[in-house]
């Protein structure tokens, strides 16, 4: 009998529910039964309610089983796991699981399919096609391709990536840098982590293309200290890509150098703000810089610097491989391409959903997510991280794109969706937003540093009904000051969750519900 391939993810989330133990049990049980198997530690498919998700390669494609516990292994093998046999945990052919089948996976097409650290696997799945093409092009043409795709920054600010690159290309300097912001601190987001753990060469390829496009020879990936697995996988992937000539002194025979280095962050949320991140990489406290100068002109160590989020860089290889038009054919309006949405919090089927812009929150919550995990009605969804608004049901049918969300005062951000059921106390969540800002503020500007602490106090007075109407007005004034007077998004957007909670769920603050007003 020939060796049969089994897949058990190595993604940190899979490990957190026992994937290592499942892999060990499979190895031991198969050895005992004299069955020849090869266990590949792949990335996660992003169907987290099914993790650990074990797959077996059969003549009819890969068959999935999940969630598998170590003690399930003997019964699974008895049921013919290695031939894709029927079992209560069988999910059928992986690609046909509706959650996966309904997606449009461009950036995440390899996720969970390949061995993350296998150069051969990466190459066999359209890897390096974009970089090889870029290596033969003029720098300006590479920038033009990214510009033409309409790709916008996936970290949250949604600034056109190509314009950033064009600015850096246009500046003359002895040293330029490419910096990847992998300080994914937003609760409810994990697509950066999945990319680094599950398809690290894609990020390397995207950053190398950026290096060629703007003439930068050095790159840094700033990764959260809370992500030890991502750090280890990226370091190993960089070593392998360098040894194979995709990084180093002569990237893909282009004659251009590009070297990459991982820098480990140290638990400061505000270092996800690009200028605070630069300070941190320079070895300083992560204090936000005033802009201008823009980092594209004076960034890391005072040199022109491209700064993008993990998913922005990860979107670039396919744009170079298949052309700007291919990417642009996805999405709507000025929001082109796809976004990996991340279903999180109180959701039955939590996981990663890559869809073109234009999908609605209701589709994501129910068609993909299956409603709340608790079975109770969903009350609020915080979209776009801790600085995003709580989106009420009246807005769940808006097709998601950057402009449509901005029109109702919401943000798409990094695509994280945190679901709360009807037991959530929105006044407490608003208080938490202020408390979090007080803990994480870098302290440079007063509205953020002081305003956040005052915000906690004011919300406490509102919930205790001390001069409630007056304190509500005070909270609104305070939020106005923070929005307009803060140096960066930390203080400037903390009022988003606070005000959306107050406006859409006044009863939680002890206020009479207003007459059914529009949005």
């Amino acid at each position: 009998m020939s060796t049969i391939k089994l897949y058990v993810p190595r993604d940190a989330a899979a490990l957190a529910v026992g994937a290592d133990e499942v892999a060990a049990a499979l190895q031991a049980e198969c050895a005992q039964r004299g069955l020849a198997v090869e266990i590949v530690r792949n990335g996660s498919r992003g169907l987290f309610w099914l993790e650990p998700l074990v797959e077996v390669a059969t003549a009819a494609g890969r068959i999935a089983y999940g969630p598998v516990a170590p003690e399930d292994v003997p019964a699974l093998l008895d049921a013919g796991l290695l031939q894709g046999g029927a079992h209560a945990l069988s999910q059928g052919p992986t690609e046909q699981i509706p959650f996966l089948a309904k997606q449009e996976r461009l950036t995440f097409k390899r996720m969970g399919v390949t061995d993350p650290l296998s150069l051969a696997d990466y190459e066999a799945h359209e890897g390096w096609v974009g970089l090889r093409r870029a290596a033969t092009m003029e720098a300006a043409a590479v920038v033009q391709e990214v510009l033409g795709s309409g790709l916008r920054g996936r970290g949250g600010a949604a600034f056109p990536t190509g314009i950033k690159w064009k600015t850096v290309l246009g500046v003359t300097a002895a040293q330029k840098y490419v910096v990847c912001n992998a300080d994914e601190g937003d609760s409810g987001t994990y697509s950066d982590r999945m990319t680094m753990e599950g398809d690290p060469f894609m990020l390397i390829e995207g950053m190398a293309i950026a290096g060629l496009a703007v003439g930068a020879t050095r790159g840094f990936i700033y990764i959260r200290s809370e992500y030890p697995h991502a750090i280890a996988t990226m370091n190993e992937a960089i070593a392998r890509a360098t040894a194979a000539g995709f990084l180093g002194d002569n990237v893909c025979g282009s004659g251009m150098a590009f070297r990459l280095e991982v820098r480990k962050a140290a638990g400061s949320y505000v270092c996800g703000e690009e200028t605070a991140m630069l300070e941190s990489i320079e070895g300083k406290r992560g204090i936000v810089r005033a802009k201008p100068p823009l980092p594209a002109i004076e960034g890391l160590f005072g040199q022109p610097t491209v700064i993008n989020n993990v998913i922005s860089f990860a979107s670039v290889p396919i744009i170079l491989a298949r052309g700007a038009q291919f990417y642009k054919d996805h999405g709507m309006g000025r929001s082109t391409g796809t976004l990996p949405f991340q279903l999180a919090g109180n959701i039955l089927h939590g996981g990663l959903v890559e869809k073109a812009f234009g999908v609605t929150l209701r589709e994501l919550l129910y068609d993909f997510g299956g409603g709340s995990a608790s079975g109770r009605p969903i009350k609020a969804v915080q979209v776009g991280g801790p600085l995003g608004t709580y989106v009420p049901e009246s807005q769940w049918d808006i097709p998601i794109d950057y402009e449509a969300y901005a029109a109702v005062g919401a943000v798409v951000g990094h695509g994280g969706l945190v679901v709360h059921d009807d037991t959530a106390d929105m006044a407490q969540l608003a208080r938490y937003a202020m408390e979090f800002c007080a803990i994480e503020s870098c302290g440079k500007c007063t509205p953020c540093r002081i305003g956040s602490t005052r915000g906690v106090e004011v919300i406490d007075r509102i919930t205790r009904n001390q001069n409630r109407p007056q304190q509500v007005q005070l909270l609104r004034d305070l939020c106005d000051t923070m929005v307009n007077g803060s140096l960066c998004a930390m203080g400037g957007m903390t009022p988003f969750p606070v005000l959306s909670a107050l406006n859409h769920y006044p009863a939680d603050f002890g206020l009479a519900a207003p007459n059914q007003k529009a949005a």
Binding site: A16, Y190, A265, A266, G267, G283, K284
Partner: protein, 160 residues
């Protein structure tokens, strides 16, 4: 100085300083290396780091205390981190943290008197599709329940 370094640890810090002093922006990588070797960044290491990197002690102290990840005091023999970001809150993280305080016998942000365990809130472990999540040492645990936490605590050999 209450927290002096013995000669072996002094040499160890000096070796790490030598390894990072020419690295651009080397302070954070150096502090990570010190903390990995010693478990924390003792106050007595700060002057060595400052001298090696040609910084003031105030600058180094400022960086050590700015970042949540760096510890100036030695942690307990086990470190338990409980995520209390929004996604985990939506799945009972606040109750889980309160339960952890009870089971482990120490408050959040504190180390138990016998030095067995340190309990820390953390803001997002990136396992938001399987909330609530905790980390014990370097091992992640997701879809936590108070019952699972009890079993983990029992395995931790925390002593009485």
């Amino acid at each position: 100085m209450t927290d002096s370094l013995d000669p072996a640890r002094t040499q160890l810090v000096k070796d790490l300083v030598a390894r990072h002093q020419d690295q651009p922006g080397g302070l954070l990588p150096l502090l990570h290396a010190v903390q990995e070797a010693l478990g924390h960044v003792p106050a007595a290491a700060v002057p060595l780091v400052a001298q090696g990197l040609n910084l003031s002690r105030a600058e180094v102290h400022g960086v050590v205390t700015y970042y949540h990840f760096f510890r100036s005091e030695a942690p307990g023999r086990q470190v338990v981190q409980v995520c209390r970001a929004e996604s985990c809150q939506a799945c009972g993280a606040e109750a889980l943290l309160a339960h952890a305080e009870k089971v482990l016998g120490c408050k959040a942000h504190e180390t138990r008197a016998d030095g067995a365990v340190t309990l820390e809130p953390v803001y997002c472990l990136g396992l938001c599709a399987m909330s609530p999540a905790i980390m014990v040492g370097d091992k992640l645990h997701a879809r936590m329940t108070p019952g699972k936490l009890d079993r983990l605590a029992a395995q931790m050999e925390l002593g009485a």
